[in-house]
Subunit: 254 residues, 2 copies
């Protein structure tokens, strides 16, 4: 399926996580904030590049981005609307909530490197099980910027112990979509008390001989929205990403 075809399905109402969709293409997190917070957010991203690698920024009020030939308000499977840091709604179409003063940011997503993991013989459990990736709010704080602060959010993939080095090596080549893991092993060291109960997405089995491996996650901006309570924000529903037209190789380093 091409990114264009996937976006047409999402626009028509399909609400599914996008992991495994459109192999070979870059996926992105969405965060749209009022213009008066745009500098704070771009600075937050600059200071937290592992979790917030900015791929594209739309002009104020614009609903199109250069890496995606579509409408940012309709072409993702689902959206979250925040008012004063509270989740006010989850919707499949954000048009009635969008405002002219919003600046939309697209942030790299680790779904982008999952094809490369599979190609290298590293299994991806949530693709095998057809579920959403598990994501966790950690006890690690991001570097604040202006009025924005909040915890690092991570995604987790269980990796057979002998494949962990390969998982690190492969994902290191994709810094623009979170790159190398931030943590390998003990969830408690990240302040995660129950690995079976993710804060976003769905749990996955961790089998004997597997180690949980944690990557920085583009839900981090939404955790900052929840922690910092700006008046208004729109994000994607976690795991329900913008599927862009950019090739994954465009974000690969040697």
């Amino acid at each position: 399926m091409s990114p264009r075809e996937a976006r047409a399905l999402f626009r028509a109402g399909l609400r599914v996580p996008t992991s495994g969709y459109c192999a070979g293409h870059t996926q992105a997190n969405l965060i749209a904030l009022p213009r008066e917070l745009a500098f704070d957010f771009l600075l937050f991203a600059q200071r937290n590049p592992k979790s917030c690698p900015v791929l594209d920024v739309a002009e104020e009020g614009e609903t199109r981005a250069s890496i995606l030939d579509g409408d940012l308000r309709t072409d993702l499977p689902a959206y979250r609307i925040y008012r004063h840091g509270e989740l006010a709604a989850e919707v499949g179409d954000a048009r009635e909530h969008w405002r002219d003063d919003l600046v939309a940011f697209l942030v790299g997503c680790s779904f982008t490197f999952e094809g490369a993991l599979l190609d290298s013989g590293v299994p991806v459990r949530h693709i095998e099980s057809g579920s959403n990736v598990p994501m966790y709010r950690t006890s690690r704080q991001c570097r604040p910027a202006g009025r924005l602060s909040g915890p690092l959010v991570v995604s987790m993939r269980p990796v057979p112990a002998e494949r962990v080095p390969e998982a690190v090596r492969v994902t290191s080549r994709y810094p623009a979509v979170h790159g190398a893991p931030v943590h390998v092993g003990d969830p408690a060291a990240l302040g995660i008390t129950d690995i079976g109960r993710p804060d976003f997405g769905e749990p996955v089995d961790i089998r004997d001989g597997e180690t949980p491996v944690f990557w920085a996650c583009g839900v981090t901006p939404q955790a900052a929205v929840m922690a910092s309570a700006p008046e208004f924000a729109i994000g994607h529903a976690p795991g329900h990403m913008a599927v862009t037209d950019a090739r994954d190789t465009a974000h690969q380093i040697p």
Copy 2:
């Protein structure tokens, strides 16, 4: 000489280009703009990452940065003051010009990888000749952002033809300080009509068997200031950089 010692000399009045100073440490370009232009500039940098890799951003009104234990108004060898896009003054101490509404950005500088070039057997002519690096305004336009637009500025180093691949390979490992060259060979293709007359810095000899190699340059923000004429800006004097405490290896990729 340590970065701290170098900064003390500059603070005391020494005005020299910093190429070759404090090998092993990261050098940075300075651009300070009024807060109301800060988002436009950070977006300009995001859209032009080869020329404007942001290393650090000081809070509004702050004159300290996290990668440099010193005062941004005094610890560079020289500064340029711009009013409405015109160069109004070049000074060794920017304190009397600094304003409380300025946001200071530090942008990676290619001087940072010159030690690695030398270590790899690639000569650096302006270090040999004790002169400032030659820099040129090109005919290549940056991607605009908000009220900021302008041409790409490049630095040039003549490289023996057989060492060009090594020069590309070595500098590719330092994307945060401009990374790989943007152009190898014909200056005319970049709209440079007289290689002997750089727009900034000083000319260097190009000897038989050498090819001019061009890297994106952190004077690009100042070219955008000249082209876009914001009410006020402060930059470093080209070639007269902020010598930071960050190791060059901190910005190296495998």
